[in-house]
Amino acid sequence: MKNSEIWIAFYTILIKEIRRFTRIWPQTLLPPAITMTLYFAIFGNLIGERIGTMGGFSYMQYIVPGLIMMSVITNSYSNVSSSFFSAKFQLSVQELLVSPTPNWVILVGYTLGGVARGLLVGLAVTVLSLFFTHLALENIVMTIVVVLLTSIMFSLGGFVNAIYARSFDDVSIVPTFILTPLTYLGGVFYSIDLLPEFWQNVSLLNPVLYMVNAFRYGVLGVSDINVYWALVIVSLFIVALFSYGLRLLNQGKGIRN
């Protein structure tokens, strides 16, 4: 395919993906907005006032970056996993497989579809948080880079999940049993300085901790870890997941007999 044709194929996949999640907005965009509003109201306002400050900020201010990141992570992941699995389930993935669209374009198209939803939800949650607290962006470049890379990484993860999934249960297993615990234990609600040393060290094995802290650094200027390590780790995950996802597509795993 010529470059111009590849661009059209990519753009077609991306627009198809964006159209999908905006068409079903009560399932995709509304729930995270409601959930996060409840988090802000309950954890931030009601409980947070009794907790006091954390890292030099009000508890509400402290948890907002983590909650934004949590929305980005779960929505990026679930958009790609559910969309690509649905395409497999309905056989509509064959529309792409019979076409000359290269596999890497399919992977990039679906991934950026997940990024689009992740960022849109992240933006909505950020706007909602402003009704509860004040946010000052300390490092706008770091904020944007971290949220973008994290969204790409989890979109790629969702794609790999969808390739392996054989049922809708398989699509929900990873978010429920892996992603949610990692996110809740990834420093969204607390600083790891509060943990005993052993659990601090265990927490350092959790990749979500690096992303949440790097994002918090961008927004508030505080972090439990070296934020540049976070960028390196996320970048390595992206390279690994992209390579693996492309390899699975080339093999036709789960999509070709």
């Binding site: 059209i8 996949i13 395409a87 309905q90 064959q94 036709g252 070709r256 007999n257």
Partner: protein, 304 residues
């Protein structure tokens, strides 16, 4: 000579060891109207799956309009349009978007895609449903939608896998009129069907696949010439006298004597049986083949 489709020594072994294709060789000429026939599980769908990249082959070579599907897959795929047996579109998407999106996957700009979508949806009588979600369409409409989608990149070869399964007679006829016109305009058509009278009426050349091997590959005319015997049903104006038999033909009395089945060997004249019936004052009011001629050959070839 460049063929529309050229398959050499194509083998496919599925996980678990089942050998679906055991070295298929097949050539389809440009502009042909070609039928690929075979019983269920013979290897038709696997062959088509390999052609359109939905099945990974184990070995062998496949080229479409001279483009190898391994080394030049993008060019090969541009030549090919596929109408699969199962509905395989997003059921929540509108008819128009399904067709235009498919064009996008071939690198066709939205403006051109929209023009073509309008053209083919109008030709297939679906333009009035363009904004309807595809799940709301009837079975026949869904089938036509898949034809429009397969044509939007204007392929040189169109593969139709059981396209008239579950489609009513009127729609089937209009669908075939449309496909015949496409063929007349130069598109190579490859068809699999269980309705053998369709293959006999429409196709010029034919291949019969059984147990993963091509058992016959010739023109429909040449194949029909090999038919040695046909059975005709005669409807009579009154019943045959009891015990009456023909000296020249094997016949079986059916429907309480109001009809007879007559076996006619190749080269035998039907005039004789008409004369014999006329001699006993019985008129034949209508006659027809007991079964489709191609069907008889098909069964014979499959049974070996």
């Amino acid at each position: 000579m460049t063929y529309a489709i050229e398959i050499s020594d194509l083998k496919k072994r599925y996980e678990g060891g089942f050998e679906a294709l055991k070295g298929v060789d097949l050539k389809v000429e440009k502009g042909d109207f070609f039928a690929l026939l075979g019983p269920n599980g013979a290897g038709k769908s696997t062959t088509i799956g390999v052609l359109c990249s939905l099945v990974n082959k184990t070995s062998g070579r496949v080229s479409i309009f001279g483009k190898d599907i391994d080394s030049d897959f993008a060019s090969a795929k541009k030549h090919l349009g596929v109408v699969p047996q199962e509905f395989n579109f997003n059921v929540f998407e509108t008819v128009f978007n399904i067709v235009v999106t498919q064009a996008g996957f071939y690198g066709i700009s939205r403006a051109v895609a929209a023009e073509r979508a309008e053209k083919y949806l109008k030709q297939l009588d679906l333009w009035g449903k363009k904004d309807v979600q595809s799940r709301m369409l009837s079975g026949g409409m869904k089938r036509r939608l898949m034809i429009a989608r397969a044509l939007v990149h204007e392929p040189d070869v169109l593969i139709l896998d059981e396209p008239t399964a579950g489609v009513d007679i009127e729609l089937r006829r209009s669908m075939w009129d449309f496909i015949k016109k496409l063929n007349e305009q130069g598109t190579t058509i490859i068809l699999t069907t269980h309705y053998l009278e369709e293959a006999e009426q429409l196709c010029r050349n034919i291949a019969i696949i059984n147990s993963g091997e091509i058992v016959e590959n010739t023109s429909v005319k040449a194949l029909l010439k090999t038919l040695n015997q046909e059975t005709f049903i005669f409807d009579l104006d009154k019943s045959l006298p009891s015990g009456w038999s023909s000296p020249d033909f094997n016949l079986t009395v059916v429907n309480d004597g109001s009809s007879i089945e007559v076996e006619v060997v190749k080269g035998q004249s039907l005039n004789k049986i008409f004369k014999e019936l006329d001699a006993i004052d019985i008129n034949v009011v209508s006659m027809r083949n007991k079964s489709n001629r191609l069907e008889e050959l098909f069964v014979k070839l499959i049974k070996g």
